[in-house]
């Protein structure tokens, strides 16, 4: 039964233009990076910074760098959440607003199974966003700029970040891990938006509120006098992918951040099921 529901949900999701809008959006980020890099090679910028100690010759520009720069703070903290809530925010609330939820649940469908099918569709869509970003970034980047060693520098990602050099084989492996980390981070937004979509009647709220919350918590985190509350905000752990670029990956810290994000996700998920299975659907 669940499989049938999942198939129906996926079918429904891929009939909506906004799903494709999100997926195209995910492809646009690496494409924008490719266009920017085709216009301006970042090598002189890095060479200037390293100039006191090292001589940098050749070009750091290659497909791996495109894929790396695609994953940056702006993408993870703002752009991807927008693409997630675009579809996940309306996945349950949208049906309630359209009146189809009452119609579906009036049939002998288990509410939990129904919600599971919606959840799996949401997870699949989130995974697709990351997959498209990785494929377009890595594939397009390699096609346009070719292979090479990967120079990791936080300065290219808009942050102080790590400085590291990876050989091509290590670069592919590390980029896959980083995309995996990005998926884990974005899942928290998916769960939050899913939770709101399950409890709200208006999908706009489920779309807007997670974005406002993420931005609000990011702003609060930047105030030094709020540093005591920082460990309790899930946005603090949204940078876990940055440490995956370190020369020596601090797995302990990353697992800690990962568990905290997953904990938040499970809390949102439990809330979704708790409220949805008890919810009065009147319209």
């Amino acid at each position: 039964m669940v499989w049938t529901l999942i198939r129906i949900e996926l079918n429904k999701m891929f009939r909506r233009p906004r799903t494709y809008l999100g997926l195209v959006g995910a492809a646009l980020i690496p494409l924008a990076v490719i266009i920017i890099f085709a216009y301006k090679d970042p090598t002189p910028f890095i060479a200037k910074i390293l100039g006191d100690m090292f001589t940098l010759s050749g070009s750091i520009l290659n497909g791996y760098l495109v894929s790396l720069v695609t994953i940056n703070h702006g993408t993870i903290n703002f752009f991807l959440p927008v693409l997630v809530v675009l579809v996940v925010g309306e996945i349950v609330a949208g049906e309630e607003q359209e009146g189809t939820l009452r119609l579906v649940l009036s049939r002998p469908v288990n509410r939990a199974y129904f919600l599971i099918s919606k959840l799996i569709s949401s997870l699949f869509y989130t995974f697709l966003l990351i997959l498209i970003m990785a494929l377009v970034g890595l594939g397009g980047g390699l096609l346009v700029f070719g292979r090479g060693s990967l120079l990791v520098s936080g300065l290219l990602l808009g942050d102080e970040g790590w400085f590291n050099i990876l050989n091509p084989a290590e670069a592919v492996q590390r980029l896959l891990i980083v995309h995996g980390g990005a998926f884990l981070v974005i899942l928290t937004i998916t769960f939050l938006s899913f939770f709101l979509s399950s409890i709200l009647k208006n999908p706009i709220g489920a779309m807007i509120f997670p974005l406002i919350l993420v931005i609000f918590l990011q702003i609060i985190s930047n105030f030094p006098f709020f540093s005591e509350i920082k460990p309790y905000l899930f946005t603090t752990y949204m940078d876990l992918w940055v440490d995956l670029l370190a020369p020596e990956i601090p797995w302990k810290d990353i697992l800690n951040s990962g568990f905290i994000l997953l904990g938040h996700g499970l809390f949102f998920l439990a809330g979704s099921f708790y409220y949805f299975t008890r919810k009065d659907i009147l319209s």
Binding site: T43, L56, W162
Partner: protein, 217 residues
């Protein structure tokens, strides 16, 4: 009598100094390096800052006197500046240094070269085979950026075309692992590096495209 003793001491002191100059300054070996007008060499650079993570760079190093360098690579090369210096024949120009003779070790004359330019932050020890007029090895002591610690690199030479040319360099250095947004280094980590140099071609005609790139430097 006293005058004679004084003259004798003065004579012995002068003779000792003259003998010392004869032994410790095999400047012809250093000057011979200056005959190299250009060369090309294949290089493999390995930088290791963490166990299990090595960064390897493969490139061709082109040199043309007095100090033109071009590194040809399909990828990119990040080369410690101090290591780059040692590859140039001009690095051994005798008039750039003051010399200290440190004695003989295993039949080789050990010579310390201290740059006259106070701005330079390195010194060099050379083990010279005076009999064969060749440099056998060297040790470069250097400082990097704001780091106060002195690092060192071992340089091994081989006789190639009658010249002493470095074929292997290994040493310790600091590598930045974190930068602040302004570009200043926030965190360093010590690591090791090695340079393997092979297939030297000395005093040859470079292809036109390489000559153009060298003149652009």
């Amino acid at each position: 009598m006293k005058k004679n003793i004084f003259l004798l001491i003065l004579f012995l002191f002068s003779a000792y100094n003259l003998m010392a100059i004869d032994v410790v300054l095999p400047l012809d070996i250093l000057e011979k390096q200056q005959e190299i007008k250009n060369f090309r060499v294949e290089v493999v650079l390995e930088i290791c800052t963490y166990a299990g993570q090595n960064s390897e760079f493969f490139f061709t190093y082109y040199y043309e006197e007095p100090d033109k360098i071009y590194l040809e690579t399909d990828d990119f090369v990040l080369l410690p500046k101090e290591a780059l210096k040692t590859l140039q024949p001009a690095f051994f120009q005798a008039d750039k240094y003051s010399f200290n003779y440190l004695g003989k070790e295993e039949g080789l004359d050990i010579l310390e070269l201290i740059p006259l330019d106070k701005g330079e932050r390195y010194r060099l020890l050379l083990a010279i085979d005076s009999g064969n007029s060749q440099i056998r090895s060297g040790e470069l002591f250097f400082q990097m950026a704001d780091y106060q610690e002195e690092f060192n690199a071992q340089i091994f030479f081989a006789e190639i075309g009658g010249y002493s040319l470095p074929v292997y360099i290994e040493g310790i250095l600091v590598v930045p692992t974190k930068f602040a947004l302004g570009g200043e280094v926030k965190e360093y980590r010590e690591g090791s590096f090695s340079l393997k140099l092979k297939d030297y071609a000395i005093n040859i005609d470079f292809p036109a495209n390489i000559r153009k790139r060298l003149s652009g430097n």
